[in-house]
């Protein structure tokens, strides 16, 4: 039986009609809403590629049933910034050339945003800990942590986010 699920994505209300209420949010974002920024890495809540914010909390959405986000606010990498108006994190990732294949970056940037929302001045160790749920197989870790530090400094200095 087709059911409707209403929630917001990047501030905009969406309504999706699905037969299977267990459909993972990741599949809804990618296949129903055409938001490809949130990546599939494992489907097992292990790699962090699919990290989004749900009511401000970073969550892996590859196994999160769509019914569980009804009425909630979802923010994806596309909701952070655009090439014209990059989020300070995105600008810092570009400045630091933080990434190789880049497949892990959407989830990592979203995780980093959640960290900086909570803790504007994280230490290197706190950044590492916050990102330990995200895997980067290419070994871009140090650049990524530098970029997060740089974005944190910029946000503290009042950069718009």
């Amino acid at each position: 039986m087709t059911q409707k699920f209403d929630f917001t994505v990047n501030g905009k209300p969406v309504s999706v009609a699905l037969d299977n209420e267990e459909t993972p949010l990741l599949n809804v974002l990618r296949n129903e809403l055409d938001l490809m920024g949130t990546r599939f890495g494992c489907g097992l809540e292990q790699c962090g590629c699919c990290t989004v914010l749900i009511d401000g909390v970073p969550e892996k959405c590859c196994a999160k049933p769509v019914w569980s986000v009804a009425g909630k606010a979802v923010v994806t990498i596309e909701g952070l910034g655009t090439p014209q108006r990059p989020h300070p994190l995105q600008q810092a990732f570009i400045d630091e050339q933080a990434g190789q294949c880049g497949y892990c970056l959407s989830g990592i940037i979203v995780s980093a945003k959640a960290l900086l929302d909570k803790n504007p001045s994280p230490t290197r160790a706190q950044i590492a800990q916050a990102l330990d749920d995200n895997i980067c197989r290419c070994g871009s870790h140090n650049r990524i942590m530098r970029a997060v530090e740089k974005a944190a400094a910029q946000l503290r200095a009042g950069a718009p986010s």
Binding site: D19, N20, E22, T23, P24, N27, R30, N31, D34, L35, M36, G37, T38, R39, F40, G41, C42, G43, L44, Q46, C47, C49, T76, I77, E78, G81, T82, P83, P86, Q90, F93, I94, Q97, G99, Q100, C101, G102, Y103, C104, L105, S106, I109, A125, I127, A128, Q129, L131, D132, N134, I135, C136, R137, C138, G139, S140, H141, N142, R143, I144, M145
Partner: protein
């Protein structure tokens, strides 16, 4: 005068139109057979073309890895893209530039020597002429073959090459754009998952279709050809659910699974093998003392962050395939063979995937899509492997045993060195005689490929870096190419270089210790190679290396060096770490000589990646077998195959030296060996005892401490 020698890829693809085009006023298009796998090769190619054509980078669009468009450059592998592909691109652009200058000289009725080019405009004695690439393009025949007559720019005139350039592909990924093959959606496309044949020769016994359809909760269909079974539908979630259900509801016959004993390298001893000897014979009679050590490493997974993905469409007798594999032309040839099509009836396009680090499941996922598409003409098909499917079925890099036999002179220096290797093949790429996985499940599967490894002329597979570069009177290596293996093996970053360099550079430390010498001094005392000495001296200085620094007490430092393939780039690493029950990496310093560097920051990025990945292999990684698991593979997700995490990576400092005067060399694989061996040496320095088997797990460290 002899005709100039063309770089290999240009000789193979001589028509300049394959490399460069001027599609519209102000625009330049370049084509490369090399593909982006996260290493930044496309950005480097654009830098190269900008310099050799004298145009701004922003004018240049690059297309890559496309059987319909680009040069055929085989595989993007072996750290050769810049060494060969980049040099070919330079020469192609230099030839194009020369043709345009000749044409401009004709039009302007002046000698070429008065002409130059600035951002595509032709200048005469520094003054604009109204002519440019685009006004002249109609009169220049780019279908002409490259001659090598165009002068490549001398280093002093390079503007873009040698400057750090931001990666062109990174912003799209940072803003979450649909840049990956996984993000492609074609009109009318169906999602598919393959119900994997567990092993060659396994056949489908029974399928409980009803149970599978019920699990899907939405319509899905089956496609079957022999033992190749796939599930297809327009709802990806339903297809996934059905595929999971198929794990239980499809019964296979003739299933063989690997067993736990086979996961260890030592299992390779006494297996059938093809034996080969390379190098000096007989042993050096002056050597007196005999030194023998055995090092091992288990099977490793590429463990790409995203499972492989492929798309295909068969329409009007033509098959179009989209893939993130490393060689679109070899894949096309393999598909033609598998599907009984002419190569001309197949087009293969490269689309970026996640980092692959070698031969992962990419080719196979593309073949899966193609096999299904052939049965569904007119319907675009997208196959995306599941996470466990990638771990279980991607080709693994083989376990290896490396045994060093050396003879030493009175001063404790080696005079005769034999490196004896047991290893399955490092190359079962489809183009090298390996098979596409899906093909094994089809009726009349292709035969087992004959025993084969990467030839020495290409740097060897298991034998890569099997000879020390040091001044040793007699060197040889013995290769036991093990032909009976429990799983499919193929190329991973550096192939045999990591285990070989690990073994030999750890042995060098053991010899230094016997001789009572500092590891850095000892290495310098046995190598006269200037470029080798330079990276060793540089890295020692960077790390503030102090000769004779006492180890033990849990903190250790180690150094190691290699010249990749003994003929490519040089790298030396120093590692500092702490050991209690596990290893904690503190700092890695690395000095590299890769000759002319196109994009310094890009090179550093790749070196950092290589160091971290190698550290992950050494400290954490081994593919485990267990025949109580249905697939026989106990490593099937990120919990059963953990890799290095953010909180576990070391600080890294990298220096590039000698970046102008020598030919450019690739760097993607060069730190694999030196990092591994430097970690091994540092652990030994910290513990006062040596562990010779990888990975350096907590269990092994505890066992070695207990032994003390």
């Amino acid at each position: 005068m002899n005709a100039p020698v063309l770089p290999g890829p240009l000789k193979d693809n001589p028509s300049l139109a394959r490399w460069v085009a001027f599609p519209a006023p102000g625009q330049v298009a370049i084509n490369t057979g090399r593909v982006e796998i996260g290493q930044g090769v496309l950005t480097a190619m654009v830098q190269i073309a900008a310099d050799e054509l004298d145009v701004a980078m922003t004018r240049i669009a690059i297309r890559s890895g496309d059987t319909a468009l680009t040069p055929n450059e085989g595989y993007t592998a072996g750290s050769q893209s810049i060494q060969f592909g980049g040099v070919a691109m330079r020469q192609a652009c230099a030839d194009v530039r020369a043709l345009f200058l000749d044409q401009a000289a004709k039009v302007l009725a002046c000698p070429v020597s008065e002409l130059s080019i600035r951002d595509g405009s032709i200048l005469r004695n520094g003054v604009t002429t109204g002519q440019d690439y685009w006004t002249l393009a109609g009169a220049v025949d780019l279908k002409a073959n490259a001659t090598g007559a165009g002068q490549r720019k001398p280093v002093a005139q390079l503007k873009s090459i040698g400057q750090s350039s931001a990666r062109l592909d990174l912003p799209g990924k940072i803003f979450g754009q649909a840049t990956f093959i996984h993000d492609m959606r074609l009109d009318g496309m169906l999602h598919a998952r393959v119900v994997r044949q567990p092993n060659r020769g396994a056949s489908i016994g029974a399928i409980d279709e009803r149970a599978i359809l019920r699990a899907a909760k939405a319509p899905v269909a089956f496609v079957r050809n022999g033992s190749f079974l796939a599930i297809l539908g327009d709802d990806e979630t339903a297809v996934d659910l059905a595929a999971v259900a198929a794990d239980t509801h499809v019964k296979w016959q003739n299933v063989e699974t690997p067993t736990a004993v086979q996961q260890e390298a030592n299992w390779l001893l006494q297996r059938p093998a093809v034996d080969r000897i390379f190098g000096a014979e007989p042993a050096d009679p002056k050597g007196r003392e005999r030194f023998e050590r055995t090092y091992t490493r288990g099977y490793l997974a590429h463990a790409s962050i995203s499972p492989s993905c492929g798309l295909a469409e068969f329409r009007d007798g033509h098959l179009t395939v989209w893939t993130h594999c490393q060689g679109v032309f070899p894949l096309r040839a393999a598909l033609a063979k598998t599907l009984g099509l002419e190569a001309s009836a197949i087009t293969v396009h490269h689309v970026q995937g996640s980092g692959c680090y070698g031969h992962n499941g990419a080719d196979d996922a593309a073949a899966d899509a193609a096999i299904i598409a052939m049965q569904k003409p007119g319907v675009p098909v997208r196959v995306r492997w599941r996470r466990d499917e990638e771990f279980i079925y991607e080709p693994k890099t083989p376990a290896m045993i490396v045994k060093v036999h050396a003879l030493l002179d009175d001063a404790g220096k080696p005079t005769d060195w034999t490196q004896e290797i047991w290893s399955p093949t490092h190359n079962q790429r489809p183009g090298a005689g390996g098979n596409l996985l899906g093909a094994l499940a089809l009726p009349n599967p292709p035969p087992e490929p004959p025993p084969n490894d990467v030839p020495e002329s290409n740097g060897g597979g298991a034998t890569r870096n099997a000879e020390p570069l040091y001044d040793i009177a007699a060197k040889r290596h013995i290769h036991h190419l093990v032909t009976e293996t429990p799983i499919r093996t193929s190329a991973l970053r550096g192939l045999g270089a990591m285990p070989n360099v690990f073994a030999l550079e750890c042995c060098i430390d053991e010899l230094a210790e016997r001789a009572g010498q500092d590891p850095v001094e000892y290495r310098l005392s046995i190598t006269a190679y200037k470029r080798a000495r330079a990276v060793i001296e540089k890295v020692a200085a960077m790390a503030g290396w102090k000769a004779g620094e006492p180890g033990g007490a849990g903190r250790g430092r180690g150094i190691a060096f290699a010249r990749y393939k003994n003929r490519a780039a040089y790298a030396a690493c120093v590692v500092e770490l702490d050991v209690d029950e596990g290893v904690r990496l503190r700092h890695v310093w690395c000095a590299t000589d890769a000759g002319l560097v196109i994009n310094p920051d890009g090179v550093i990025n790749q070196l950092e990646g290589g160091i971290i990945q190698s550290a992950s292999w050494v400290l954490k990684e081994q593919v485990r077998f267990d025949n109580s698991v249905a697939s026989g593979m106990a490593s099937f997700d990120w919990e059963t195959y953990p890799v290095l995490k953010f909180s576990e990576v070391p600080e890294i400092d990298i220096a590039l030296i000698n970046t102008k005067d020598e030919a450019p060399l690739g760097v993607g694989e060069i730190t694999a060996g030196p990092t591994a061996a430097a970690i091994g040496n540092a652990v030994s320095h910290a513990l006062g005892t040596r562990i010779r088997d990888l990975p350096l797990t907590r269990e092994r460290i505890m066992a070695s401490l207990l032994k003390e």
